[in-house]
Amino acid sequence: MRLDVERFSLSFVRYDGVLRQRSIQVLHDLTFQLEGGEVLALVGVSGAGKSLLAHALFGILPPNARSAGSLRFDGVPLDDATLPNFRGRHMGLVPQSISHLDPLARCGRQLAWAAERSNLRLTKAQLAERLSTFNLPRTVAHNFPHQLSGGMARRLMLAMATVGQPQLIVADEPTSGLDPKNAENILRTLRGMADAGCGVLLITHDLVQSVPYADRVAILNSGRLVGMETARSFSGAGDELTGDYARALWRAAPQNAFTPEGPIDA
């Protein structure tokens, strides 16, 4: 599996008044590759446009979005014609929050729907087995989403995203709002999937937390890719890092020799 993002830009068209259109660019000229077997962490502060890239990959952007450049999966451009064959089957999305689960449908049923959408029909036993793979008790199938804890909901969404055995997994902030133990659990699962041959695009705002599980780290700032580093170089004072922004970000973490530049009491 190979994902190619080439000179990808994204903008939104808004009406300014009645007739004048204004275009707001949110992603600028992104270029990177992701191969099977690796975890690429896409790190950026909120508002950097990380989730938009995920939505663009799955073709679920709002109608007023305009994109340029190309997204290719194993060389095939991802567009409205090809995406129906890829979504769910070759690429799975782990969404950001519990609001991505239908509040009125039982969890087991939602997992079965996800399977169906990947052309799989799961028996009750297979469903239970899927759940236990992600450390979810069998009873979860009968629960509604609001009855799950944050960690359980995230694991359920992970189970839904991977039920169709996709080669590419895009996880959009899979650890936000989770305690360290649950977050580690999710990240370890994603790492395991990469080790089994999948490509994992890990979208996160937490650099320090994701570094131990990633192979490479891409840093996004205001819609631009400002650095591509190996995860290994995020160590010590970050002297091995190639980009200034990456180094500043790494050093900004309290445990990594944080030194504020310039006087604080300006």
Binding site: F58, R87, L93, P95, S99, H100, L101, D102, L104, S118
Partner: protein
Amino acid sequence: MTFWSIHIATRLVRLALVLAAVAVLSFALAKSSPVDPVNAYLGADIARAGPEQRALIAARWGLDQPVPAQFFHWLGNMLVGELGYSMTYNAPVIDVIATRFRTSLPLMGLAWLFSGIVGFALGILAGSRPDSWVDRGIRLYAYVLASAPTFWIAILLLTVFSVGLGWTPVCCAGPIGVVPEEVTWLQSLHHLILPLAALSVLGVAQIALHTRAKMVEVMQSDFALYARAQGASRREIAIRHGARNAAIPALTVLFASLGELFGGSILAEQVFAYPGLGRATVEAGIRGDVPLLLALALFFSFFVFTGNAIADIVYRVVDPRMDGKLLR
């Protein structure tokens, strides 16, 4: 469950208060209206009765007593189930309401059911593709119908289907000259079609617009977006997620619309001369049949209250997020 018993007890107390308020208000209105029960009773014989005779009738009925005394006398009778005697139909009020209700029940029940089913389906269809031509068409239909008076629609239907095309009968619940007991169910159905259409059409617009609004919201929700990312089609999302989530508000509106159904039935039944509760209300009003009018006011209040109470309860039972609990 104590939670439920407390809830039901509160509802019953409220129902009693509402009915008491309606009783006081409608009695006061009847008293201050120009309707004179003695005149209504005498009817065409009014010229032949002298003042002494009128005074005798008034005294016999207790109309010479102060108004509060009259009210409590009437209320006491109501409480023991003595609803009075209808001069219009020359039968006890309780019998009039019972027979009329039996005629109205299929009309109102079916209209209620149809407007629920058709309205929900149209709302799902429109809301799943907002601003498509299907949506525009359904919305136009709903707005036109929601703003068109029932009696006008009824007259229009009558003009087209009964007078112009001759497909449906012009009036009544059965063929003219046939006693109600001998009307076959096919004939009943034939006579029911137009009033039913007129009455359903009104409810459809309401439910369709409410369902559409919820559908638009659902189709933009995170879980609809996620379903798309899993490879679901728009149609699948509309049916699996949309219909599921839009059902609760639709049910609530449907139960809450019982009151409008009664209002609509008064107009529809009047136009089609359909001998149901609605027409009885108009007759009672025109002929000054005070006992029947007051009893109908209480009867309608009871139904509207019940509809609203069910609307209030139903979404708490249906929505799993409420865990069957009642917020109060």
